[in-house]
């Protein structure tokens, strides 16, 4: 399927298959980009929060320290880095994988639950530019597929 150039397709397997991502041509997730952006945003938020409250909006001398120093702003910035990174990672993951998804056309297939038990499925969506009702069926048959079904979205 990967070599046939399909993009909108997926596998349903009863257990994690090692090397499946590579066989499907799935690249590493870009969630880390979201995490990094969240981390940088968190760090800057923490630093500017302490700077703005302590040195701009309400300058107050505490313990003979300067109005602002990255030293005491650091614990806050550090915590917000972690918090925002976690938010961005979780949020980015849900954004990219489209969960929670309450409906998918494969649910119309009465045997689909066996994909969690003892059957392996390949799903090819008709919105894929390379999709063609008969050719795709032939391709799946050639790949050794049985019980090939067309489902209505």
């Amino acid at each position: 399927m990967r070599d046939a150039g399909f993009k909108h397709w997926d596998c349903i397997t009863p257990f994690p298959v090692h090397g499946l991502d590579k066989a499907m041509g799935v690249k590493r997730s870009i969630v880390p980009r979201f995490s990094l952006a969240g981390g940088i945003l968190g760090f800057c938020t923490g630093m500017s929060l302490i700077w703005w409250t302590g040195a701009v909006d309400y300058p107050l001398i505490v313990g003979g320290k300067p109005y602002f120093s990255p030293m005491f702003a650091f614990p806050v910035a550090y915590e917000l880095t972690i918090l925002f990174t976690a938010f961005a990672t979780i949020g980015g993951m849900f954004f990219l994988n489209g969960l929670p998804k309450h409906y998918h056309p494969v649910l119309k297939y009465d045997q689909i639950k066996r994909g969690m038990d003892d059957l392996f499925f390949i799903v090819i969506e008709s919105r894929d530019p390379r999709f063609h009702a008969t050719n795709t069926r032939t391709l799946l048959e050639k790949a050794g597929g049985t019980q090939i079904q067309e489902l209505e979205a």
């Binding site: 090692h18 990094l36 313990g63 320290k65 030293m71 005491f72 650091f74 614990p75």
Partner: protein, 423 residues
């Protein structure tokens, strides 16, 4: 000449460790001889401090290896089984490190106060009496005295050598008899070895390094030392993996996930080191009590308020070199899988650990005004020869142990899981 020997060793991988070990020992002895020569060229006090830097650096790496093996056993880890064998070879260095520490002990008894000034009760403090009349010393005297120092140092090395011998024997014997009982023995060793290792490395850091300024206190010191130990051992682990990969031994054994895992651990301990080191600095900065701040002041300004070299060592070398650069570098997944990049960052980390140890030890050398002597003086040369000298002996000990066993612990119960390690 060196190119010639390299070709020979590449052609004969099986027998090359013997000649490589010989070369390492030669380099080690030359380094030690050059450091000894330094005693006649420059101030012997400075050379002794350089030797302390060298011995602390390499002992830290050996302790890090010991702690990583113990952590491996206590967690029943699987991915690190193949690397554990190389660390077990690394532990062979402890007895030689103990031997090389001996000159410092002998000098301490022959000339008390020469290295650790509190050993000499008549040592003049800068502007307020002698050590013997100093209340801050007298309160600590039951802990800081030459007898305790010697006894504890002997105890540290005996503990490490004993733990090393137990771990090595169990692991090496398992290769032959395949008994799973050895894994259980190691797990028990880890259960009591971890607290023993944690306490001994903490006290070693306090006696050998922190007591150079015996007025100072920091509860983070042992943790700081531990973080450096483990980072050093991980960096050396990466270099060993690269070496065995280049030789061909590790081809087919390591996959991407092993490289990813050790990269992740290096990254985690980079953050851990930064957390601990920053906490120590931040708490002292925030409390602003003279008994504590003097230690950082000594590493920042001279008595007249002008900045000294250690200030820039702290900002550029410690803050950026030790944390920011490895942190950003190791964030990337691709960097962790790239052998060239991991080699670069591992050597980098070893260099900054050395700098960190210099930062902690060398400012104890002071001029007549009580200012710390700068990093860049002739003494740095003896520091480097000491590091190369002691390092040569450690590498020799590793290479001598290397051919005595199988490359990987083939009958470890977790070896199958290790070889098929996945994310």
């Amino acid at each position: 000449m060196s190119a010639h020997t390299a070709t020979v060793s590449a052609a004969l991988p099986a027998s090359s460790t013997a000649s490589a070990a010989g070369r390492a020992l030669t380099i080690g002895l030359v380094g030690i001889a050059l450091t000894a020569l330094g005693l006649f060229v420059s101030d012997s006090h400075g050379v002794a401090m350089s030797w302390l830097v060298g011995i602390t650096f390499w002992t830290a790496i050996a302790i890090g290896m010991l702690m990583l093996i113990l952590i491996h056993h206590i967690f029943d880890a699987s991915w690190s089984v193949v690397l554990r064998r190389q660390y077990e070879h690394g532990l062979a260095a402890f007895k030689w490190l103990a031997l090389l520490f001996l000159p410092l002990l002998i000098v301490s008894w022959l000339k008390p106060g020469f290295i650790w000034n509190w050993m000499d009760l008549n040592h003049e403090l800068h502007g307020h009496g002698t050590v013997g009349t100093d209340v801050l010393y007298l309160k600590k005297a039951s802990f800081l005295n030459p007898g305790m120092f010697t006894g504890m140092t002997v105890f540290f090395f005996l503990s490490w050598m004993w733990l090393a011998a137990r771990l090595r024997k169990a692991s090496f014997t398992q290769d032959a008899d395949g008994s799973v009982g050895w894994t259980h023995v190691n797990r028990k060793t880890a259960a009591f070895g971890l607290p023993l290792g944690a306490l001994t490395l903490t006290f070693a850091a306090i006696y050998w390094v922190k007591s150079l300024e015996y007025h100072w206190f920091s509860t983070m010191y042992g943790v700081w030392f531990f973080a450096n130990c483990v980072r050093g051992a991980l960096a050396v682990g990466v270099l060993i993996m690269l070496w065995l990969w280049a030789r061909g031994d590790y081809k087919g054994i390591l996959n991407n996930n092993h490289w990813h895992s050790i990269g992740q651990l290096s990254f985690a301990f980079t953050v851990f080191w930064a957390y601990v080191t920053f906490s120590q600095y931040f708490l002292i900065w925030n409390a602003n009590i003279p008994e504590e701040t003097f230690w950082y002041n000594l590493r920042e300004i001279n008595a007249d308020g002008s900045p000294n070299q250690w200030k820039y060592v702290g900002i550029i070398g410690i803050l950026f070199g030790h944390f920011v650069v490895p942190f950003l570098f190791l964030l990337s997944y691709k960097h962790k899988l790239n052998h060239g990049k991991m080699r670069f960052i591992s050597i980098w980390i070893l260099a900054v650990i050395l700098l960190d140890i210099c930062y902690n030890i060398l400012p104890a050398l002071k001029d007549v005004h009580g200012n710390a002597l700068p990093l860049f003086n002739l003494n740095l040369l003896w520091t480097l020869t000491a590091v190369v000298g002691i390092g040569g002996v450690c590498v020799w000990a590793y290479l001598r142990s290397f051919p005595t066993t199988k490359l990987i612990p083939i009958r470890d119960p977790r070896i199958g899981e290790c070889l098929t390690h996945h994310e």
